[in-house]
Subunit: 186 residues, 2 copies
């Protein structure tokens, strides 16, 4: 619908168009439902066209994960800038809400089929994202490391369990306050 059906695509930014359409399909159908041929069809281009812009389906998924990490990094940096009274709680909430609002993208970022070794772009994006966490959760002191990992694990676990519908939300319960309660429970 966002694609004019009879425009000869010999010029425009096909890479962008593919990424935008892929993000939509990803959130609607999940990673399994994101086919390269479907994507080409959705954008109105031949099945072989995406191969000029991505290294196959794996390359497309990698590019999507990179934009996911970038969005994540931005969301975390925004929280830092806002100088919240309880930084750890604020970042935890942002972390969890990002996961819930970008479910398939978040899952893709942590997908085991995207090996970060020998994929410098992905590795850098991921490192930048996680650097925003280390910033708040305790530094590199030998004892601080354990506390930082424990905090990260709790927040990440909460995100994943909510994402998978594993934690039952009770009737009329606000997910925001549940997240706050769990994060602030020391």
């Amino acid at each position: 619908m966002s694609t004019p059906s009879n425009a000869p695509y010999h010029h425009g930014d096909l890479r962008r168009a593919l990424l935008d359409a892929a993000l939509l399909i990803l959130e609607r159908e999940g990673e399994t439902g994101l086919g390269l041929r479907d994507l080409a069809r959705a954008v109105g281009v031949s099945p072989a066209a995406p191969y000029r812009h991505f290294d196959g389906r794996a390359g497309l998924l990698e590019a999507l994960a990179v934009t996911g990490f970038q969005r994540f990094t931005r969301a975390m940096a925004d929280v830092s800038l806002s100088q919240p009274s309880d930084p750890l709680a604020a970042m935890g909430k942002t972390y969890v809400l990002f996961a819930l609002n970008n479910a398939a993208l978040f899952r893709l970022m942590f997908s085991p089929q995207l090996k970060r070794d020998n994929r410098p772009g992905l590795r850098m994006a991921a490192d930048a994202a996680f650097a925003t966490l280390r910033h708040v959760s305790g530094g590199d002191a030998p004892a601080g490391r354990i506390a930082a990992l424990a905090a990260w694990a709790r927040v990440h676990g909460l995100a994943v369990l909510l994402l998978d519908g594993q934690i039952a939300i009770q009737a009329g319960e606000d997910i925001d306050v549940l997240v706050s309660q769990i994060i602030e429970n020391q």
Copy 2:
């Protein structure tokens, strides 16, 4: 290799053979690498044969996830029986080690593509597995619920982050003691 190549498979327990081979392939190649045709080939049977025992590929994955939950339940029950001095820490360690020793299976258990609604077998197996957790982590008191969820989230997050290679293990560090430290960090 475990399959005699020229035995007429008209009799044996094909369902078991398929499940056993699938578990091997799953841990070796990951969920994406587990194809129904590959599986049939590995067991020495026609591509259509598995359809007499599973409702397509989705049915196979569901059956695998069920056995995963059963193994998980058994591991947790065994810890309970052993009457450890610190039950929460002992169960947390078992939880994390189960995930690390059954990586692909663990991921499959929490895969979003296995919808538990209208899949009673899967739902029951999962409920039984999680019931073993509730048993130790605080009951159903209104305040205890938050503490229980927080503990679960921390353990689950630790498992997932370790699984994805997200937490860097330092040189010569024992993963067992790291898990203990993080779990016991209140």
